[in-house]
């Protein structure tokens, strides 16, 4: 089964391990630089990009400031169109609802189209525990699932794998899940795509239940929108008899017209295309065309907590385009796994801590996973000021103050020794500006861990002296990774992700 993000080590340790992996870095650098340039060209084609960006941000802000109104409106219009709406306060509830809905169909298998929301809730693991097998159908998700791996990029979850690794995974694993890879499969992307087509077609033609996320939900009309490239989305959205969509409550836009902004912003920011190959929109159910039963599961799971922070709430504008990942020097060096959640890169550094109420060492370290260079803000199609939120969250970590967790206000204790903390912050910022130094420091930390398990050497020392950092494990990240591959992962999970 797929891996879990639960219990990931805090960012600096995880990233240090990744930066040592030269192949991963080469894969990442190649991929992010290619897409960066293409995106710039796609954006340059529209001379009103700045206006579209401002409109996109304003539409999302309008929605967020009146989210209660738009949620009720959406529920009404989806219901009127023949859909059934369910509400999930947290991940466990979402998984319970989906498991029950699948059980009610009597089916033991479901096909899934990339959905970040279900990745966040660990749905596949929950379904597996109930004896239901979930097949990921997005090519990159398939690579991740077959490779028993974790996604590392929003748009291209297997960005850390090169073609030769993918061929090996297909040869080794496809047969265990269904149709095996053809004899003599090479590592040409076209042949690999063909192998995936054949492997998955069998599943599509027989699947009775599809599970998806959505990129947008239109409150006025009750329409859901899935933006994709491969056609696996269309397969999952139209061939099964039952469709279950799990969607974060922030994915709403008020009106049909609003799509004219996002259907221009998203493809160009994401895949750097004028338009992605396929977009499907559906409103409830349609007689004789597509699923007969449609369930919409509205997911909170920390979103209302994020909404409660007037500075941090802008993170909920995110349309998951992944442009901020592709320009981020820290992401490029650290890789997606270091962020310990389905949301890597700059957006992950501000979203994950907020969704989880800054409740742990990983969450507290993520706001430091940035050099504050501002490239992420520049490319963000909905103008999320990521550096502003990072600094705001760092302040929360250092000075303490109110945060909301599971709907309840809690007050974080200020960290002891403000001066030392400020020095540590400067050190962290410096280290991310100088990744070579960061790597050196971390390697040193690893070497001395048996001697000083709770103290970081060098500039990090003051930091570790004043905070209860978790013990540096007596094993490297890679060892930890291997050790935890035994499939015991439960709770928060991997796989899935709406593009």
């Amino acid at each position: 089964m797929s891996r879990s993000f639960l219990g990931m080590p805090a960012f600096p340790r995880a990233s240090a391990a990744t930066t040592r992996d030269t192949r991963l870095r080469a894969n990442l650098t190649h991929a992010t630089h290619t897409i960066r340039d293409k995106r710039a060209a796609a954006v340059a084609e529209l001379d009103d990009w700045a206006q579209l960006r401002a409109a996109g941000a304003a539409i999302k802000d309008r929605t967020l400031r009146h989210l209660d109104h738009y949620l009720e409106r959406l529920e009404e219009s989806v219901t009127a169109a023949g859909g059934r709406v369910h509400w999930a306060a947290d991940a466990a509830e979402a998984n319970r609802i989906v498991t029950r809905l699948v059980r009610e169909t009597g089916e033991r298998e479901v096909v899934k189209v990339k959905s970040m929301a279900t990745q966040e809730t660990g749905l596949n693991e929950a379904l597996a525990q109930a004896g239901i097998r979930a097949y990921e159908t997005d090519l990159a998700e398939l690579i991740v699932q077959l490779g028993d791996d974790l996604p590392s990029h929003i748009l291209v979850p297997a960005i850390h794998r090169n073609r030769a690794e993918i061929r090996d995974i297909f040869r080794r694993e496809m047969g265990k899940w269904g149709r095996p890879a053809p004899e003599g499969l090479s590592d040409s992307p076209a042949e690999l795509a063909e192998a995936a087509r054949r492997h998955l077609r069998e599943k599509f033609l027989t699947a009775k239940v599809g599970i998806s996320g959505a990129n947008f939900m239109v409150a006025d009309t009750g329409t859901l929108v899935v933006v994709e490239s491969e056609g696996n989305g269309r397969m999952c959205l139209t061939l099964p008899e039952t469709l279950i969509s799990v969607v974060g409550i922030e994915k709403i836009v008020p009106s049909w017209q609003d799509l004219e902004v996002f259907l221009q912003l998203l493809p160009r920011s994401s895949t750097a295309e004028r338009m992605n190959p396929y977009t499907t929109t559906w409103t409830g159910t349609t007689d004789g065309d597509g699923p007969r039963t449609f369930h919409l599961v509205l997911l909170d799971n920390g979103r209302t907590d994020t909404l409660a922070d007037t500075v941090g709430r802008q993170a909920l504008r995110c349309i998951r385009c992944s442009a901020c990942l592709n320009v981020c020097p820290v992401y490029e060096r650290a890789g997606g796994h270091a962020y310990g959640s389905p949301y890597p890169g700059p957006i992950g550094a501000i979203l994950t801590p907020q969704l989880r109420g800054l409740a742990g060492p990983l969450e507290e370290s993520l706001p430091y996973a940035s050099s504050l260079c501002g490239a992420c803000y520049e490319v963000c199609p909905v103008a999320i000021d990521i550096p502003e939120v990072l600094v705001h969250l760092r302040e929360r970590v250092v000075q303490g103050g109110p945060v909301t967790r599971g709907g309840a206000r809690v007050v974080l204790k200020p960290a002891k020794g403000h001066a030392a903390e400020r020095a540590a912050m400067r050190a962290a910022a410096w280290a991310f500006d100088h990744p070579g130094a960061l790597r050196g420091g971390m390697r040193l930390a690893a070497r001395t861990r048996r001697l000083h398990p709770r103290r970081l050497p060098g500039p990090g020392r003051a930091w570790s002296d004043t905070r209860a950092l978790p013990a540096v494990p007596a094993e490297s990240f890679r060892d930890w990774w291997r050790r935890t591959r035994d499939g015991s992962g439960s709770g928060n999970g991997s796989t899935g992700g709406v593009t």
């Binding site: 409109a55 033609l205 027989t206 004028r274 349609t286 065309d289 709430r313």
Partner: protein, 218 residues
């Protein structure tokens, strides 16, 4: 308390900073972006559509009203198609010169049966020039969504200039949200392997677009 009430109550608490008098449509949305990018004659718009379709690897053909049946017949023959699925409301003349056997789109037909069909011919709801996009809305000449998905070869006929719009903002008001829509921009593709674009994964791997000139245009 139901989860619905829990979530809505959390949202309202989280939004305590929003002034009481502010209505859901009060936060301003600037819409000073362009309805269409640049000014073009209808001929130039058509040219741009053809260019952008081809840029994303759709194969573009043009013809006049009298030439359509022969063209469709040729395209199906070149493909070696023996069977072609046909939406219920497709003009029967379009396939009058086709050698392939027509398979009607039946509600009780299975996806597996469809998988055995070689090609599909449909009309569309509209086409967007700036993005090279075809939009299908399940109208009588387009049929159910699955018929343009499972077969590996799709021939889509666009009536020009009537069905061509310039931009995405021009397209949305002409589309009905209550209908299931499929927006198609080139054949299915993936960039999941080293961000290398590969055409053809699960949807039709060959997309042919016929720009059918009506009223003497094009």
């Amino acid at each position: 308390m139901s989860s619905r009430d829990v979530v809505l109550a959390r949202v309202r608490r989280a939004l305590a900073d929003v002034p009481r008098g502010e209505g859901p449509y009060d936060p301003p949305v600037p819409r000073d972006y362009q309805r269409v990018h640049g000014s073009r004659t209808p001929e130039e718009t058509l040219e741009l559509l053809a260019e952008n379709l081809a840029d994303y690897r759709a194969v573009v053909h043009r013809c006049g009203p009298g030439e359509l049946p022969a063209l469709i017949g040729r395209l199906l023959a070149a493909r070696g198609a023996r069977t072609v699925v046909v939406p219920p409301g497709l003009d029967p003349r379009w396939l009058s010169a086709a050698g392939a056997a027509a398979v009607p789109d039946r509600a009780e037909g299975t996806a597996r049966e469809l998988d055995a069909v070689d090609s599909v011919v449909t009309g569309c709801a509209l086409a967007i020039a700036e993005t090279g996009t075809l939009v299908l809305d399940g109208g009588p000449d387009q049929g159910r969504r699955r018929i343009t998905l499972v077969p590996d070869h799709h021939i889509c006929v666009v009536r020009v200039p009537a069905q061509v719009v310039g931009s995405v903002p021009e397209a949305l008001p002409r589309l009905a949200p209550e209908r299931p829509l499929t927006w198609i921009s080139g054949p299915s593709a993936t960039s999941d392997i080293e961000l290398d674009r590969v055409e053809g994964v699960h949807g039709p791997r060959t997309l042919e677009v016929v720009l059918l000139a009506e009223d003497g245009a094009g």
